[in-house]
C-alpha cells in the first residue's frame, strides 16, 4: 500500500490538447520502459532526471500514440519518488489506453489525492501545508466516492458482484468443510469446484476483454438539469440532445424519474440527467422523483439550473439556489420570449454564468453554447475521477482474475484444498475491495448462512 507504484491521468479529460499520464514509485522506470519505446532507443531507467524523450507508447504490442516521456529521478520530483510523465495527444481514448497499459504492467491506480499525499510524506511539501493536504484528500476522496457511486450502479459492477457471490459460496463451502469436519457438510467435489472456478474465470476473462465496450467507461461531464416543475427542463434537454426523450407536457410534475442521455455540444461531451421538478411534493410517487433529483444534484459535476423568466422567484427556486450554492453551475433563464417578471439578483449571488434563452422558441442557443464552453474550459472538473474509479475497478478485477488462476492451478496440480482456498480468498478479497468489505468476514457470514453448523 505504501510502496506500490501508482499511476493516473493527471490532466482534465477530453478538454485539453494534451493528456498527461503520471507514474510514481520505485518501479516507475521499469514499468514505463515496458510500454514506451524512445526514438533514441534509450531506456528511461538509464537516462538522467529532468529530461524529456520522444517516442511512442504501446499496449499489447500495438502502437497507441506518439509520446513525450519526461523523467524525474527521486527525490527530485513532485512526489519525491521516481516519476515518469507521458504526454500524449489529448482525447479520452488515448489517455485511457496509455493508463491501461501502465496498469497492466504493474502500476496500481492512484487513490484520491495520493500523489499529494506522497509528496507530503516524502517531505516535498511544507509542514504548514499538512492541513490543506488533508483537506484535499478529503475532498478528492469525496469526489472519487461520487464517481465510484456511479460506477457501482453500472451493469458491469453487477456482473462483478455476481462473480464475487459465486466465489464466496465456494469459499464458504470450503471453509465450512474445513472448520466443521464433523458436521456432515457435503464433501468437496473436485469436478464441481473446478467447474465453478472455471466459470468464474471465464466470466472475469469476458468482463476484462469487453471492459470498454458499451458504456462501461463514461467520459465527459456528468451534468444534471434541475429546476422547479414546468420551467422547461425537459424542453431544454430535448433541445440539447436533439430529440424527444423526456415526456413534455404542461402539467407540472410530468418527469417523475431521472432521464439520462449523452450529448456533444461544441466537442464537449455531456452526460445529461433531466430530473423531476424540485418542489415540496405532496404526491408520494412524485416525491420519489424529487428525492432522486436531489441525490443526482449531490453527485453531478455540472448543474444546469433552469428558471422561468415569466414568473417571480418562488420558494422552490430559492431552495434550489441554496442546494446548488458552491457547485459548478449554469443558470438558464428560460422562456425569455414571454413577459419577463424574474428578478435575477438572487441568482447572480449564486453564479455568474447566466444565460437568457427560450428552449421552446430556440432562442439564445448560441449564448448557451458559449457559456457552456467557457465553463467547461475553465472549471476544474477532475473528470479523471470517473475514469480512475473505472480503472480501479478494472485493475482489481484483473488482480482477482490472476488470483483465481492461481487457485485453479493449485487445484490442477493436486494441491490440498487449504492452498486452493487461500488463493480463492485472495481472488474474493480484490473484489471485496471495491465495496470495502473484508473477505474473511464475508466468507464466515456465508458459512453460517449456508450451512447448519455448530455443536
Amino acid at each position: 500500500m505504501l510502496n506500490s507504484t501508482i499511476a493516473a491521468i493527471s490532466t482534465a479529460q477530453g478538454l485539453g490538447g494534451i493528456g498527461v499520464i503520471r507514474i510514481s514509485g520505485d518501479d516507475a522506470f521499469t514499468i514505463a520502459d515496458k510500454v514506451f519505446v524512445a526514438v533514441s532507443n534509450n531506456k528511461l531507467g538509464d537516462v538522467k532526471g529532468y529530461t524529456a524523450h520522444f517516442g511512442a507508447v504501446y499496449y499489447n504490442n500495438e502502437k497507441i500514440d506518439e509520446c513525450v516521456a519526461t523523467v524525474f529521478r527521486a527525490p527530485h520530483s513532485y512526489t519525491g519518488e521516481n516519476v515518469v510523465e507521458f504526454s500524449v495527444h489529448g482525447g479520452t481514448y488515448v489517455t485511457k489506453t496509455v493508463l491501461r497499459a501502465v496498469l497492466d504492467n504493474g502500476a496500481v491506480p492512484a487513490l484520491a489525492g495520493e500523489f499529494t499525499k506522497r509528496a507530503f510524506l516524502n517531505g516535498k511539501l511544507d509542514l504548514t501545508e499538512a492541513e490543506a493536504v488533508m483537506d484535499i484528500i478529503g475532498a478528492k476522496s469525496h469526489a472519487a466516492a461520487k464517481s465510484a457511486l456511479t460506477v457501482h450502479e453500472g451493469a458491469l459492477s453487477k456482473s462483478i458482484n455476481e462473480v464475487k457471490e459465486d466465489l464466496v459460496l465456494r469459499a464458504a463451502h470450503l471453509c465450512a468443510w474445513a472448520d466443521y469436519p464433523e458436521e456432515d457438510i457435503p464433501e468437496i467435489e473436485f469436478n464441481a469446484l473446478k467447474d465453478a472456478l472455471d466459470i468464474a474465470y471465464n466470466k472475469l476473462s469476458f468482463l476484462l476483454s469487453n471492459y470498454d465496450k458499451g458504456k462501461a467507461i463514461r467520459d465527459g461531464i456528468d451534468t444534471v438539469i434541475v429546476g422547479r416543475p414546468n420551467v422547461g427542463k425537459s424542453t431544454l434537454m430535448n433541445l440539447i440532445t436533439g430529440y424527444d426523450k423526456s415526456i413534455v407536457t404542461d402539467i407540472a410534475g410530468t418527469t417523475r424519474d431521472v432521464v439520462e442521455e449523452t450529448a456533444v455540444v461544441k466537442d464537449i461531451t455531456l452526460h445529461l440527467s433531466d430530473t423531476a421538478g424540485i418542489r415540496d411534493a405532496d404526491n408520494a410517487i412524485e416525491k420519489i422523483g424529487v428525492d432522486k433529483a436531489k441525490k443526482r444534484l449531490s453527485t453531478a459535476e455540472l448543474i444546469i439550473a433552469v428558471f422561468d423568466a415569466s414568473a417571480e422567484l418562488s420558494h422552490d427556486d430559492i431552495s434550489i439556489l441554496n442546494d446548488i450554492k458552491g457547485s459548478i453551475c449554469i443558470a438558464v433563464i428560460n422562456k425569455e420570449d414571454l413577459d419577463i417578471k424574474l428578478d435575477i439578483e438572487k441568482i447572480k449571488e449564486v453564479t455568474e454564468n447566466i444565460v437568457f434563452m427560450s428552449a421552446k422558441a430556440k432562442t439564445g442557443v448560441k449564448e448557451f453554447e458559449d457559456i457552456l464552453e467557457k465553463v467547461a474550459g475553465t472549471a476544474d472538473f477532475d473528470a479523471s475521477n470517473a475514469v480512475l474509479s473505472n480503472e480501479r475497478q478494472r485493475s482489481l478485477a484483473k488482480a482477482s482474475f490472476d488470483a483465481l488462476s492461481d487457485a485453479i492451478n493449485a487445484l490442477d496440480m493436486g494441491m490440498t484444498y487449504d492452498a486452493v482456498t487461500v488463493s480463492l480468498e485472495d481472488a474474493i478479497a480484490f473484489l471485496c475491495e471495491l465495496t470495502g468489505e473484508r473477505v474473511t468476514e464475508t466468507v464466515v457470514d456465508n458459512v453460517f448462512h449456508q450451512f447448519c453448523v455448530g455443536k
Binding site: M1, L2, N3, L111, A112, G113, E114, K117, F120, L121, L127, A130, E131, V133, M134, D135, I136, I137, G138, A139, K140, S141, H142, A144, A145, C175, W177, A178, D179, Y180, P181, E182, E183, D184, A410, M413, G414, M415, T416, Y417, D418, A419, V422, S423, E425, A429, G436, R438, V439, T440, E441, V443, V444, V447, F448, C452, V453, G454, K455
Partner: protein, 635 residues
C-alpha cells in the same frame, strides 16, 4: 457489618476458569504476587460444556498457548482419553488436534497446579465490588467483606456474571452446573461506567452410559498413535475411550417443532444473543428446516463416571420435551437424563472498549479475558487469559505491553478481531478467520512462538534449547533435501507411477520430488538412502516448507505489507473529530475503537483508504512538530 483488610496483591484474577487459570499462572510465573478467586473451589477449571479440548482452530490456540508457556495443552495431554487430528488430508493449514478429556481429572490437575505455583494464592470467594483507589490501585471486596488491594485486576467471570439458566418455562439465577452465580459484580462494574450486555450459550444433556444402546451405533476411534498437544509432552500412551455417532430423524424434528413455543428463546424470554455456530437443536431445526437429520456425537465425560455428553444436542426446551426428543434418536430410546440440557445467559462487555493488551482503555490496570470479553470456548478463553495475565504482570513490573499481531498467531487474530471489530455474538475461533492460515499452522506454533515465550520468561532454558535443536535439524534436513540427488532408477519410477505422478528420465533432486503434491517422505523412503534418522515432526516441517513454498512466500509478503502499517502507532490522545479530511463515519468509528496503529485503523469497517491517507499525513506532521519542539527545548 464492616469490611476487613485482607491483603495486597500485584495481580488479582476474578474467576478460575480457563481464562483465569492461564492469567494467574502467567502472572505468578513472571514474579507477581497473584491471587485467583473462584466462586466455588470445586469449580476450578470446569468444562461445563463438551468434555474436550481443541478442535478446528481451537487446537491451533492450544498449541500456541503451549508454545508461549501456558498450561492448557499440557493438562489436556495429562487428562486425555482420546486424541484425533481432524482434517487430515485437507491440508496442513486446517489440521487441528482435539482431545477428549477426563473432565474431573482436568479440574483436579489444574487446581493442583494453581496450588503448587509459587507467588499464587487460590481462594474461594465471590467478588462483589471493585473500586479504583486514588493511588491507581484497585480495591476488591468479597461477599464475606474481605478487602484486597491489587495493582491490577483481571476479570474472567465466564458465564457466572449475572448468570441465569433457562430450561423451558423454568428459569433461575445460576452459574453453570448449578454453581451459584456472581450476583453483585455486574452492578459494581456498571457503577464504574463499564456497560454490560447479555450473551447466551447452552449445553446438551448428560445421559447415563448404561441406558444407551452403544452397540448399535457407529464407533469413532482415536488416532493411532495419538499425538500430544504440548511440544513438551514426549508421548501419550494409548487412547482410552471411543466415541459414538448417531442422528436425529423426522420424529425428533416433529417433537421439537410441536413444542417450539415452549422454548424460552422462541418464547422471547431470553434477551441474550446466542452464537450462530453453537445453536441449540431447536435453532438448527427452525433455521434449516429442509435438513432431514442432524448428527450427534456421544462422548464419555471421564473414566470414573457414567455420564455421557451428547455433542450437537444442546437445547433449552422443557425437561420433559428433551426426554421425548432424545428418545427418538437411535441408541437413545431408553436414555436416562442425568443432567438436563440448558441455556445460560450472562453479562459480558463490548471488547472494542479494550486495547489489544486486553486492558480497558478507560480503566488503567483493569483487564478482562474469556467469555466476559464476548468470546466463546475454553481455548479462546485460555488464550486471552494468558495475554491478559502477561500484560497485567508487565504493567506491575513496568515492562512493555505484550501484543501479538494477526500475522503471529491465532491468538493475535482472535484478540485483534475482538478489540477491532467487536463481537455481536459470542466469538468462536475458526481457521477461516485467519487470512494468514498457511503460515499460522498448528504444527509450527513452536517455531512461531517459543522464542517469544522464552523471552517473556515463561519457557524454560532447557525447553528453549530443545526447541533450537529441533530448528537446527529442520534447517539441516532442508539443506539435505536441496542437495540430495536421487538417482534415476526403475524403483523410483515405479513409486512415481504408483502415486500417479509423472515419471523421470534422469536423476532428480529430492526437493523437486517433495514439491509434488502426490509424494511425501514416507513413500520416498526406499530411494532416499542417505536419509538421517530424525523425529517425524522434523520431516513434517521440511515437507510443508517445500510443498507450500510458493504459498508461504506469498503470505509472508502479505504479512510484510501489513506490518508496515502496524508499526505506525496512533497516539492515545488523538481527537479524531478535529481531523479535517476524515469522513464523518471514519471520525466516529475511530473515536469509538481508538486503534493503536494505522494497521488496526485500516481494519475498521467504515474507514476508507483515503481516511488512512489523512491519518498518515497527520501522523507525519505530528512527528515533525514533536521533533521540532524537542529541538527548540534543547536550545
Amino acid at each position: 457489618m464492616s469490611t476487613y483488610f485482607a491483603g495486597n496483591y500485584d495481580v488479582a484474577v476474578i474467576g478460575a476458569g480457563h481464562a483465569g487459570i492461564e492469567a494467574a499462572l502467567a502472572s505468578a510465573r513472571l514474579g507477581c504476587k497473584t491471587a485467583i478467586f473462584t466462586i466455588n473451589m470445586d469449580a476450578v477449571g470446569n468444562c461445563p460444556c463438551n468434555p474436550s479440548i481443541g478442535g478446528t482452530a481451537k487446537g491451533h490456540l492450544v498449541r500456541e498457548i503451549d508454545a508461549l508457556g501456558g498450561e492448557m495443552g499440557k493438562t489436556a495431554d495429562e487428562c486425555f482419553l482420546q486424541m484425533r487430528m481432524l482434517n487430515l488430508g485437507k491440508g496442513p493449514a486446517v489440521h487441528s488436534l482435539r482431545a477428549q478429556i477426563d473432565r474431573r481429572k482436568y479440574q483436579d490437575v489444574m487446581k493442583h497446579k494453581l496450588e503448587l505455583c509459587d507467588n499464587l494464592d487460590l481462594r474461594q470467594a465471590e467478588i462483589t465490588d471493585i473500586e479504583k483507589n486514588d493511588d491507581g490501585t484497585w480495591t476488591i471486596t468479597t461477599r464475606m467483606l474481605a478487602q484486597f488491594i491489587a495493582k491490577t485486576v483481571i476479570i474472567a467471570t465466564g458465564t457466572y456474571l449475572g448468570g441465569k439458566i433457562f430450561i423451558g418455562e423454568v428459569s433461575y439465577e445460576s452459574g453453570p452446573d448449578g454453581v451459584f452465580p456472581a450476583t453483585f459484580l455486574g452492578e459494581s462494574l456498571r457503577k464504574l461506567g463499564i456497560s454490560t450486555r447479555r450473551f447466551k450459550t447452552g449445553t446438551p444433556a448428560r445421559v447415563k452410559r448404561s441406558t444407551i444402546d452403544l452397540d448399535r451405533l457407529e464407533v469413532q476411534q482415536g488416532d493411532n498413535p495419538p499425538v500430544p498437544f504440548s511440544f513438551d509432552t514426549e508421548s501419550l500412551g494409548e487412547n482410552k475411550v471411543v466415541c459414538h455417532v448417531s442422528y436425529t430423524n423426522e420424529d425428533t424434528k416433529k417433537i421439537i417443532l410441536d413444542n417450539i413455543h415452549r422454548s424460552p428463546l422462541y418464547g422471547g424470554k431470553i434477551e441474550g444473543v446466542g452464537p450462530r455456530y453453537c445453536p441449540s437443536l431447536e435453532d438448527k431445526i427452525v433455521r434449516f428446516e429442509h435438513k432431514e437429520r442432524h448428527q450427534l456425537f456421544i462422548e464419555p465425560c471421564g473414566l470414573d463416571t457414567e455420564e455421557m455428553y451428547l455433542q450437537g444436542m444442546s437445547s433449552s426446551l422443557p425437561e420433559e420435551v428433551q426426554l421425548q426428543f432424545y428418545h427418538t434418536i437411535p441408541g437413545l430410546e431408553n436414555a436416562l437424563i442425568m443432567r438436563p440440557a440448558y441455556a445460560i445467559e450472562y453479562d459480558c462487555i463490548d471488547p472494542t472498549t479494550m486495547n489489544a493488551t486486553l486492558e480497558f482503555r478507560d480503566f488503567e490496570g483493569l483487564y478482562g479475558a474469556g467469555q466476559f470479553n464476548g468470546s466463546s470456548g475454553y481455548e479462546e478463553a485460555a488464550a486471552q487469559g494468558l495475554v491478559a495475565g502477561i500484560n497485567a504482570a508487565h504493567k506491575v513490573l513496568g515492562k512493555e505491553p505484550f501484543i501479538l499481531d494477526r500475522a503471529s498467531s491465532y491468538i493475535g487474530t482472535l484478540i485483534d478481531d475482538l478489540v477491532t471489530k467487536g463481537a455481536n455474538e459470542p466469538y468462536r475461533m475458526m481457521t477461516s478467520r485467519s487470512e494468514y492460515r498457511l503460515i499460522l499452522r498448528q504444527d509450527n506454533a513452536d517455531e512461531r512462538l517459543t522464542k517469544i515465550g522464552y523471552e517473556l520468561g515463561l519457557i524454560s532454558q532447557e525447553r528453549y534449547e530443545r526447541f533450537n535443536k529441533k530448528q537446527e535439524l529442520i534447517k539441516q534436513e532442508l539443506n539435505r533435501a536441496k542437495n540430495t540427488v536421487i538417482p534415476y532408477s526403475d524403483e523410483l519410477n515405479d513409486i512415481l507411477v504408483s502415486r500417479e505422478t509423472s515419471k523421470v528420465s534422469n536423476s532428480i533432486r529430492l526437493i523437486e520430488l517433495l514439491k509434488r503434491p502426490q509424494l511425501n517422505y514416507e513413500v520416498l523412503k526406499s530411494v532416499d538412502v542417505t536419509r538421517p534418522d530424525l523425529p517425524m515432526s522434523v520431516f513434517e516441517q521440511v515437507e510443508i516448507a517445500i510443498k507450500y513454498d510458493g504459498y508461504i512466500k506469498k503470505q509472508l509478503a502479505q504479512v510484510e505489507q501489513m506490518r508496515k502499517l502496524e508499526v505506525k502507532k496512533l497516539p492515545d490522545d488523538v481527537d479524531y473529530k478535529t481531523l479535517t479530511g476524515l469522513r464523518l463515519e471514519a471520525q466516529e468509528k475511530l473515536s469509538k475503537i481508538r486503534p493503536a496503529n494505522i494497521g488496526q485503523a485500516s481494519r475498521i469497517s467504515g474507514v476508507s483508504p483515503a481516511d488512512i491517507s489523512v491519518l498518515l499525513i497527520w501522523l507525519a506532521k505530528r512527528s515533525q512538530d514533536t521533533h521540532s519542539s524537542e529541538v527548540k527545548n534543547d536550545v
